[in-house]
Symmetry: D2
Subunit: 163 residues, 4 copies
């Protein structure tokens, strides 16, 4: 089940000047030099190592793909994928948790837009009562700041990796 940040933990983080660090999620980006079969290989490598995939999306063109992935253990995943000679890089993202009702994502987007934050890309899924949104903003610190100020729920790395 989703482990939601409670009001208590949010308040304590707001008083912590380093709280935004806690909210940064490490996304791995992996180059797929052909789309046929390479993703399967990655799924096998991570599955064999007991690493779970929380979310992923493939940004593709005709020839290639870039797999963007959130996993249960990003440091270990990066290491074993590099050992298997994949080109892997790490990007910080934020993960927003919304109630799964019409309009709840719109509310978050309005806050982000009003703050002048630019979203490079994002991807999301909703299941049951919750929606999770992975966001890559141009300004991570500010994005975390305005979302938490407006009482939106961000997942901490420790929570997300356990989903």
């Amino acid at each position: 089940m989703l482990q939601r940040s409670t009001c208590h933990s949010e308040r304590s983080e707001e008083s912590n000047p380093y709280s935004s660090k806690i909210m940064l999620i490490k996304q791995l980006s992996i180059f797929l030099e052909n789309k046929r079969g390479r993703f399967t290989e990655i799924a096998n490598i991570l599955g064999d190592a007991g690493i779970n995939m929380t979310a992923f999306t493939v940004a593709e063109n005709s020839d290639f793909g870039i797999l963007r992935i959130i996993v249960s253990d990003p440091d270990k995943a990066k290491e074993i994928l590099r050992e298997a000679r994949f080109a892997v890089s790490v990007t910080d993202v934020v993960c927003l948790q919304c109630p799964n009702v019409p309009g709840s994502l719109a509310k978050a987007m309005n806050i982000i837009t009003a703050a002048g934050i630019f979203i490079e890309y994002m991807y999301a899924f909703s299941v049951g009562q919750a929606a999770l949104v992975v966001i890559r903003p141009d300004n991570l610190e500010k994005c975390i700041e305005v979302l938490t100020q407006n009482k939106l729920e961000l997942l901490a790395a420790s929570e997300l990796y356990k989903l």
Copy 2:
């Protein structure tokens, strides 16, 4: 909660020559001619109309984005977005549901790869005990066929739109 296809319904669908039609999910693709603000506008339009977003991802380059989205009512969403002068098109995809344990997606990927099916792109999220994977294969009929033959769980449109 996720409404899973039971063994019963799967069996009855296998004997139905039109079952693959039931399993096709309509994904909307919407052109975002700039990334700042346009997604927010879409979220507002859909939220105001009571349409829920089940999953989405943005395929982007430096200037533009293409929003790929699964919504609770794709026909209505297409209509109101076109009225708001968005360029919208419809693509059929399949939605696979896996148990949220390491290796379960790898199993599905191995089946797809072994069948010679090419995945144009995909995106996925896992929450709680389930992972949902939206797949755009080059051969939709064959993809549905091999996944159902191998007892993997595909979501019917009627189920997915309700998530």
Copy 3:
């Protein structure tokens, strides 16, 4: 033939505070909602209107394409393409002209990198003794400034559109 900026014109432009405006080239970006046939339609529309294409490239993914194009008359092209119901937007780019010898582009790239300028994308072609490079930097003014300071040849809009 290429009409090169002579030293004279470059010097006079350096003393002109508005010179960078002269060097901005208008690139059209056109959404191709499917890749089959739509580009042909654009080529026909522009050809019928007597508009020449100086350079173009297609940034694509599996479903869609974005045509980036430099034409002889960008304002007229934008107008007639919009009349034909294409989604068209205008982006400013710079066009660098290098001698067509190994290392000449590297020299320009080193200047741009050393100045901390980020290139969003670019495309280039060389024919005969010259290479033309269309560049979309994150900072257009600065890019024009460092390239002209280093005696690299930028094409003015009036020259490029006539190529």
Copy 4:
């Protein structure tokens, strides 16, 4: 100057069952895991090795780029870039040469579309009296066949690499 295929050479190639092989151009695709500085590094490596770039384009998203490039010596370029630890792959493309007049590209595109050929992506530049178009079709053999049957000028690898 451009070395055009003369009518003589075209005719002899048409009677040669291996002619389409001659017309295949090797495009290198190189993964740029960040867009800042990596292209400059490639330009330096190729420049130092005396390898010329005939054409290139960058297919990019927010994080990454894929450099598609035509060079004077693709085999050597691939080797030295791999030595420098770049991820490089080779894709066959065709290079069409058109007169640089409005409508000439439209004519070629109409032939390709009428033959049911799908263009994955393409990029082009015109200088002086000629336009060069690099095309990645889904069916290379057929694309070469219909273009040569319709008396359009394709550049042989031996010519293009010398441009």
